[in-house]
C-alpha cells in the first residue's frame, strides 16, 4: 500500500505589483507537469488557483512582482516569517523593473492625475524589489520567468527536502 498522505513540499505563490505573466507562465508549465508535481508539492497559497488559502508553515514562498506600498512591505515580511525559503520570481521581483518605472519619474511627469492616486492611496515613495525588504534565498530571472530556471529551482528544493 502506498502512503495515502505522502510528504510534500509546501509552497505558496504570491503576486505583488506586476503583470502576473509569471503566474500565467506557471499555469502553462502545469500543462505538462501537473501530474508529476501534484504528487510532490502542496500548493497551500495561490489565489489564482484556489479560494481557500493559507500562508502557515510554508517550505517555499515564490514571489512575483515588485512592492508598491507599506501594506506590501508588511505582507512580504509576514510571508518571510512564515516560510523556510523565499524565491524571487521574474524581473519585477528580482530587479523591480519594469514595475518600478515610476521611480524614474522626474517632477515633470508627476501630473495631477498621478498625484490624485498618490493622495488617495498608500503608494510608497519608491517601488521596491523583494530583497530591499526581506532576505531572498534564490532568484529566477526573466520576463516572464524563465521556465528552465523555475524547474531547476523546484528540483533543487525538492532535493533539499529529500522528496526526489
Amino acid at each position: 500500500m502506498s502512503d495515502p498522505n505522502p510528504p510534500k513540499m509546501v509552497i505558496g505563490w504570491f503576486s505583488f505589483t506586476g503583470c502576473e505573466g509569471c503566474t500565467i507562465h506557471l499555469s502553462e508549465l502545469l500543462n505538462k507537469n501537473f501530474d508529476a508535481w501534484i504528487k510532490l508539492v502542496e500548493i497551500r497559497y495561490c489565489k489564482t488557483l484556489k479560494t481557500k488559502n493559507s500562508m502557515e508553515g510554508l517550505d517555499i514562498a515564490f514571489i512575483e512582482g515588485a512592492l508598491s506600498s507599506q501594506e506590501h512591505f508588511d505582507k512580504m515580511q509576514k510571508i518571510r516569517d512564515n516560510s523556510k525559503y523565499v524565491i524571487a520570481v521574474g524581473s519585477c521581483a528580482v530587479s523591480g523593473r519594469p514595475s518600478s518605472s515610476r521611480n524614474d519619474f522626474g517632477p515633470d511627469k508627476i501630473d495631477d492625475r498621478i498625484k490624485s492616486y498618490f493622495e488617495r492611496f498608500d503608494y510608497a515613495p519608491k517601488v521596491k524589489k523583494i530583497d530591499e525588504v526581506v532576505k531572498v534565498d534564490d532568484y529566477i530571472q526573466g520576463c516572464p520567468m524563465l521556465a528552465d530556471q523555475f524547474i531547476n529551482a523546484l528540483t533543487k528544493y525538492l532535493k533539499i527536502f529529500k522528496l526526489v
Binding site: 481557500k52 488559502n53 516572464p144
Partner: protein, 433 residues
C-alpha cells in the same frame, strides 16, 4: 441577520485583486463598491519621451495573460499615428497569433477559474486523480488545449507571453512554414476536446440577468478581433479612432481604475465574449456554427453566465480559423514597413479576450511619444459589475452571508476580470444595520 461590519477575505480565481464593500440597511443595499485594488504602474506615463519603436514591447507588460492584446493594440496605435500600412501577410499572421491567444486565455479562464464552480470544488488542485472522472478528463483537456495555444503562439510570434517577434510595421522574423502541418493536425484533434467543454458550459445553467447594453468590434468581412468598427447594442457603429465620442470616463474615487459609460445612453455596458457573440453571432466560422448548431440557441443572451459558454464557442471558432489560415498560408519573405517618423495621433482598438481594448498614441516629429492613453476592458466592465452585485444582493438579501459571498464571486468571475497587477484579496466587506 448580521449587524455591524463584516469583512470576509476570499482569494479568488481571477487575475489581480479586487474588493467589494457592501453596506446594507433595513434589508436594502445602500452602498456597494467594487474596488480594483491593484497599485498602478503608470506605464502610459512611463512611455512618454521614449521612441515609439520601444513602446509596444514595454506596454505588452501591462498584462501577463492578454499581453498579445496590448502588444497588437500598441502596434496598431503607433502604425495609425505614422500612417504605416502593414502587409496583408502581417495582418493574417497577427490574426493567427490572436487565435492562439484566445485559445490559451479562454481555456485558462473557463477551466482553471470557472470549472471548480461547476464541479463544486475549491480548485483544480482538488480534482480527483481518477481517469473516469469528468473533472479529471476536462482538466487534462485544458492542458492539451492551452498547450496548443501556447505552441501556436510560439511558432508565429516567438512566445505566448511578451512575444518578441511582432514589431512596428510587421515582423522581426517570419514563422517557419515547416511547423504548420503538425499544428494543423493538433488543431484538428483538439476540436473534440473543445466541443466537450462547450457541452459542459451549455449544460451549466447558472443564471443572472440585469444589463443588456454591449459594445464590441464587428469585422467588416466576418468575425474579427483586430479590425472593424465599434458596434453598440443599440445599433450604432463608430470608428474606433473616435472612442472618446461615445465613451464617457467616470472617476471612481475609491478604485485604482477609472470606469466608463456609454455617453449618449448614460448607461453602463458590458464588453467581452458575451458582447461579441451577441453582436456578431452570424459571423462565426461556418464549421464552428455547423458543429455547435445545437449549442448556440441561448445567444443573444443577457445571462452573464453565458460569457463562459461564449468563450468556449470562441475557442472553437479560433481553432477553425487557425486551421484555415495555416492551410492556405505561404510565407513570403518581407521586412517590416519603415517610414521616417511623423507628427501624428493614432488609435489601436482590438478585442482582448475579456473585451474591447483601446490604445491611443500621440507621436512627435522625431518619433517620440508625447502622450499615451489606454482603456482596458475590465475598467469598462467595472460599473456593470458593481450594478450587477447591487441587484444580486438586493434580490437575495435573505441568503446567508457565505452564500452571498460565494455567488458574488461567481458573478465577478464571469467577467473574467483582469486587474493584471498586485494580487490582493477580494475582500467582501459587508456592513448590515
Amino acid at each position: 441577520m448580521h449587524s455591524g461590519d463584516i469583512t470576509i477575505e476570499t482569494v479568488t480565481k481571477i487575475e489581480g485583486g479586487a474588493t467589494v464593500e457592501a453596506k446594507v440597511e433595513n434589508g436594502q443595499v445602500k452602498n456597494l463598491k467594487f474596488i480594483i485594488h491593484d497599485y498602478r504602474r503608470f506605464y502610459t506615463k512611463a512611455v512618454v519621451d521614449k521612441p515609439f519603436v520601444a513602446v509596444p514591447s514595454f506596454l505588452s507588460r501591462i498584462c501577463g495573460t492578454c499581453s498579445v492584446s496590448h502588444l497588437f493594440a500598441a502596434l496598431k496605435a503607433i502604425e495609425n499615428s505614422q500612417e504605416i500600412e502593414v502587409s496583408e501577410q502581417t495582418k493574417i499572421l497577427r490574426q493567427l497569433a490572436y487565435d492562439a491567444l484566445m485559445i490559451r486565455d479562454h481555456t485558462l479562464h473557463n477551466y482553471f477559474f470557472v470549472l471548480p464552480d461547476i464541479l463544486g470544488l475549491d480548485s483544480i488542485l482538488d480534482i480527483p486523480e481518477n481517469h473516469d472522472d469528468l473533472g479529471h478528463q476536462l482538466l487534462h483537456d485544458s492542458f492539451d488545449i492551452k498547450q496548443l495555444g501556447t505552441d501556436l503562439s510560439t511558432a508565429i510570434i516567438g512566445a505566448a507571453i511578451h512575444a518578441p517577434l511582432p514589431t512596428v510595421g510587421g515582423f522581426n522574423k517570419l514563422p517557419d512554414e515547416s511547423q504548420f502541418p503538425a499544428l494543423i493536425d493538433r488543431l484538428e484533434k483538439i476540436r473534440e476536446q473543445v466541443i466537450r467543454g462547450v457541452k459542459v458550459f451549455y449544460d451549466w445553467r447558472a443564471d443572472f440577468k440585469r444589463n443588456s447594453d454591449y459594445i464590441a468590434i464587428r469585422g467588416k468581412n466576418g468575425f474579427n478581433f483586430l479590425e472593424g468598427n465599434i458596434t453598440i447594442s443599440n445599433g450604432k457603429t463608430y470608428d474606433p479612432q473616435h472612442f472618446r465620442d461615445f465613451l464617457e470616463t467616470v472617476v471612481i474615487p475609491y478604485s485604482h481604475s477609472e470606469g466608463y459609460k456609454i455617453k449618449e445612453l448614460n448607461e453602463d455596458y458590458l464588453v467581452g465574449s458575451l458582447a461579441r457573440l451577441n453582436l456578431n453571432l452570424d459571423q462565426l466560422h461556418p464549421r464552428t456554427k455547423k458543429d455547435l448548431k445545437s449549442f448556440l440557441n441561448y445567444f443573444p443572451s443577457d445571462n452573464i453566465y453565458d460569457q463562459d459558454l461564449a468563450q468556449q464557442v470562441e475557442t472553437l471558432h479560433c481553432v477553425d480559423d487557425a486551421i484555415d489560415i495555416l492551410k492556405s498560408l505561404k510565407i513570403i519573405p518581407e521586412t517590416p514597413v519603415k517610414k521616417a517618423p511623423q507628427l501624428g495621433v493614432g488609435v489601436g482598438a482590438v478585442e482582448a479576450p475579456r473585451g474591447t481594448l483601446y490604445h491611443k498614441a500621440e507621436v512627435n516629429e522625431q518619433g517620440i511619444i508625447s502622450n499615451y492613453d489606454v482603456i482596458v476592458p475590465t475598467a469598462q466592465n467595472q460599473i456593470n459589475i458593481e450594478n450587477d452585485l447591487k441587484q444580486y444582493f438586493n434580490d437575495h438579501i435573505d441568503k446567508s452571508e457565505e452564500e452571498l459571498k460565494f455567488e458574488a464571486e461567481k458573478i465577478i468571475r464571469c467577467y473574467d476580470p483582469c486587474m493584471s497587477c498586485a494580487t490582493n484579496f477580494l475582500k467582501l466587506k459587508w456592513i448590515k444595520k
